[in-house]
């Protein structure tokens, strides 16, 4: 008499299958992968497949990690080396950010920069920049300055490109709005184009953070001095592979620190970018 559906029938049940490997929480997945790699590494060295000079065992590496860590904590010579490299990275990054930003504004804001300066920048950027290291050493000596120069040189280009791209990012409507408000070129740059470009600039800074590390260490490999790079080269020449491994791990902490400082600054300054703040705006 009515077309009401009978209540006796079962509910429609969806069964979604997820494999156990994808169902693992991050901490477990990361730990398992770590354990698997270290175990494999241990077996490879234990069974003598690889010479210990090429690949030291995990235990040896751990012992050296502890040794280097102790040396760093007690403020021995390794801390001094790390401090030298930190200074190189810091000043290199600062110089790259300043010059990269100014060149980026020149290229992104002026027709002259776009037409005349950019082609040369692209040409230099395609060169293997590490090849300039001997020049920097010849010009600036074996002290920290030549390493700072190489680090800054490598890190500048991504910032130029990102800054210029950021200045183009403002939409046609936004430009029209500023024009209709009678904004000067400087006002449009400061109040519209630079804030709009900030997310791009931070992307450039992140790429530069990686480049500046590579530049600093390469500089120290080639130019000697008192930095961490020199320590690594010295240990490598003595076939002290576990020490090289340990030093690289501590060095990577410096890179991580720089990288996440940039990420932190981006979250702080680009607070309106929803992609950077998932969940905050619902």
């Amino acid at each position: 008499m009515t077309d009401t559906v009978s209540d006796d029938l079962p509910d429609t049940v969806w069964i979604e299958k997820t494999s156990w490997i994808d169902a693992m929480p991050r901490w477990l997945a990361m730990s398992l992968l770590f354990i698997a790699v270290v175990t494999l590494w241990d077996l490879v060295t234990r069974w003598g497949w690889v010479s210990p000079i090429i690949l030291p065992s995990p235990a040896e590496t751990l012992a050296d990690l502890i040794f280097v860590g102790r040396n760093l904590i007690t403020g021995d010579y390794m801390l001094g080396a790390l401090w030298t490299t930190t200074k190189t990275v810091f000043f290199g990054f600062l110089i790259a950010a300043s010059i990269g930003f100014l060149l980026g504004v020149l290229v992104g804001e002026t027709k002259f920069g776009e037409r005349a300066v950019m082609p040369y920048l692209v040409a230099i950027d395609t060169m293997p920049k590490v090849a300039f290291a001997p020049l920097f050493i010849a010009w600036l000596g074996f002290d920290i300055a030549s390493k700072v120069a190489l680090a800054a040189f490598i890190a500048t280009f991504p910032i130029v490109v990102a800054t210029a791209a950021g200045l183009y990012a403002a939409s046609e409507n936004e430009r029209m709005l500023f024009k209709s408000m009678g904004a000067t070129r400087m006002q449009t740059l400061l109040r519209l184009k630079l804030p709009t470009g900030l997310p791009y600039m931070f992307t450039g800074l992140k790429i530069a953070a990686v480049g500046v590390m590579a530049g600093a260490i390469t500089g120290e490999f080639l130019g000697g001095g008192k930095g961490f790079g020199a320590l690594i080269r010295q240990s490598a020449s003595q076939m002290d592979t576990p020490r090289v491994f340990a030093l690289i791990l501590y060095l990577s902490l410096l890179g991580l620190l720089l990288y996440f400082t940039v990420v932190w600054a981006q979250r702080k300054f680009v607070f309106w970018n929803k992609d950077q703040r998932p969940g905050a705006l619902g």
């Binding site: 409507n173 408000m181 009678g182």
Partner: protein
């Protein structure tokens, strides 16, 4: 001219003064010798709502850009409040398809931005009280200090109405302001726009390609045709004010829409 008019028309006091005047306006793009506009004449009177409608490429966007001072005409006379329009001006209010609120500034900071750009920070601070009044007028009183990312599309466009009104412009130029909104919100916003224009006694000029929107809002509609862009007919909308959404269903509304569609349709067949 005005002297002669007032002698001919005894009740000229009842006709509102003209605010925006355009005569013999033409625009030719030099690059491809495209005649975007030819012999455009129009007068906006105080408190009047005029729409221009036409298919894409009929020159309505070009007309609006010239009226807003963003683009120079090739020839003709363009005056607002008796002064020639030779660039963007504080007494021209503009609204775009997108709300274009800057996401790093709060709603109220966005609204006083035109004051800040033209007169500096202290003038902008002084204008905050008026900005708050405008926000109350559009029903956003509680949203002054939130960031635009937290506003819906309709709310963002209402905020951009406030930004347009903050400089007390003599004329409002509206470039399809609600075309990015969904239809229900759009109907609602059109009624809001009517109310706001009425309460602020605004003179408004709307570019749209929605027939219903043009008819429900306007006192007059200018129908434009392309190649070359020109005004082919002026349609006076006799519907009483205030307009309501129910009027859309009346036979008279239907007749007006049919008439304009007919005018536009002839073009499409050509």
């Amino acid at each position: 001219m005005t002297m002669a008019e007032s002698q001919i028309l005894p009740d000229s006091a009842a006709i509102p003064r003209s605010v925006y005047e355009i005569s013999r306006l033409s625009k030719t793009y030099a690059r491809n010798r495209l005649v975007a506009l030819t012999d455009v004449n129009l007068t906006l009177r105080e408190g009047e709502f005029v729409s221009v409608i036409g298919s894409s490429g009929c020159g309505k966007s070009t007309l609006l850009k010239i009226m807003s001072g963003l683009m120079p005409p090739t020839s003709g006379r363009v005056t607002l409040e008796g002064k020639p329009v030779t660039g963007t001006r504080a007494d021209i209010g503009m609204m775009f398809q997108q709300a274009t609120l800057l996401p790093w500034m709060t709603t109220i900071e966005n609204i006083v931005l035109p004051i800040e750009i033209r007169q500096g920070k202290s003038a902008a601070r002084a204008a905050r009280a008026r900005a708050q009044e405008l926000l109350d007028l559009v029903g956003l009183g509680d949203f002054a200090h939130v960031y635009p990312g937290e506003l819906s599309g309709g709310m963002a466009q209402r905020a951009s109405i406030c930004r347009m009104l903050i400089t007390r412009p003599a004329v409002l130029l509206l470039d399809e302001p609600f075309s990015a909104l969904d239809e229900l919100t759009r109907d609602f916003m059109n009624m809001e726009l009517q109310r706001i224009c009425h309460e602020t006694r605004a003179t408004a000029f709307l570019v749209t390609h929605s027939l219903a929107e043009a008819v429900i809002l306007s006192d007059r509609i200018l129908v434009m045709k392309p190649r070359p862009g020109r005004i082919v007919e002026e349609v006076v909308i006799p519907l009483p004010r205030p307009r309501t959404l129910e009027m859309i269903n009346t036979p008279e509304f239907g007749r007006i829409v049919a008439h304009i569609r007919d005018l536009l349709g002839k073009e499409a067949e050509q």
